[in-house]
Symmetry: C2
Subunit: 214 residues, 2 copies
Amino acid sequence: VKLYSYFVSSASYRARIALNLKGIEYEYVSIDANKGEHLAAEYLAVNPQGLLPALVDGDNTLTQSLAIIEYLEETRPDPPLLPADPVERARVRALALVPACEMHPVNNRRVRNYIAEDLGHGRDGMISWVGRWNARGFETLEAMLSGNPHTGVFCHGDRPTLADVYLVPQVDVARRFETDVSPYPTVLRIAEACLELPEFQAAKPENQPDAPPS
Amino acid sequence: VKLYSYFVSSASYRARIALNLKGIEYEYVSIDANKGEHLAAEYLAVNPQGLLPALVDGDNTLTQSLAIIEYLEETRPDPPLLPADPVERARVRALALVPACEMHPVNNRRVRNYIAEDLGHGRDGMISWVGRWNARGFETLEAMLSGNPHTGVFCHGDRPTLADVYLVPQVDVARRFETDVSPYPTVLRIAEACLELPEFQAAKPENQPDAPPS
């Protein structure tokens, strides 16, 4: 198994967490998005979308972090990242889809750059843009998590699931772009619980081979 | 089964297509997002996220269109919206995730309004914004679809799948917001094939009970 990844890409971070939680060893192939390597011919031959991550498993190349993780769940079911019950699975997927569909796509690199540079809102405008959509998403997550009887040490019960795989990188994005996360205590408590696990620690941006020396 | 829907919401459109393809009869509950009903207390009690759609199945309320459709797939597997093989499932999911994660979230109502009004780019700026991200997404879809041996009458083979459920509403968004779709012939051919099916026709925005008279 080979993962095309960039240390600070939050979609790559999700895939790294999922691989670690499933105990799958993988080769790390760094694609430096800051240098535009994700749009170079070499990587476009792997993933024509030019987005990270991509996973190579034998003869197959998979793209889109959620499709990759659902594939890992189907081909390496143990330990599971989704509960067994369909209604509980839907809750876990809905929790993951808040970062996946409401937060990250509006705040990713190409959108940030377009807001700051092409639309001329500068760094301050970009920080405010990121903060706006992050805040909405975290409010939703806090509402879905706090007081729900399924919420445990982690988003759903006492084992990490797909929901945690998506939560932790989004909290990291919030910190990098100065979004105040203090109004979301359940989100923060769960992110901290996750980061006590070696599988999450090993997946952190600063622990990747392509991270700059601290 | 009850679906909280707004005729012109593309996430609602996806859920309607999936319900129709699975032959599930449902009660249509209109939430007029144009009048802000999605943010009123009555609907927030159903879905605290204030996003459409929401599906009520017995005692359970489900949110996020992808979580809803995966739930329908698990609880009503016939006819399937995903192939049996894990690699093929990953391809279908990745195709669905291009509209779900790269196009729709950047172009939905609240983001459009923020670009046009709060950031002061007006209607022209909003149309240009929508067009930019639509074009990127359709380019990706066209690259993933054209020339791939799995592409058939529909996105994956000769039966509609989750990928088609996501493709058709996004083409509708493109038309409403004046994105030129002519550079994407495979996308267009497949969307047209889908719309020949009664399950897609019945799900179209203009055929919903809350659509204005034409």
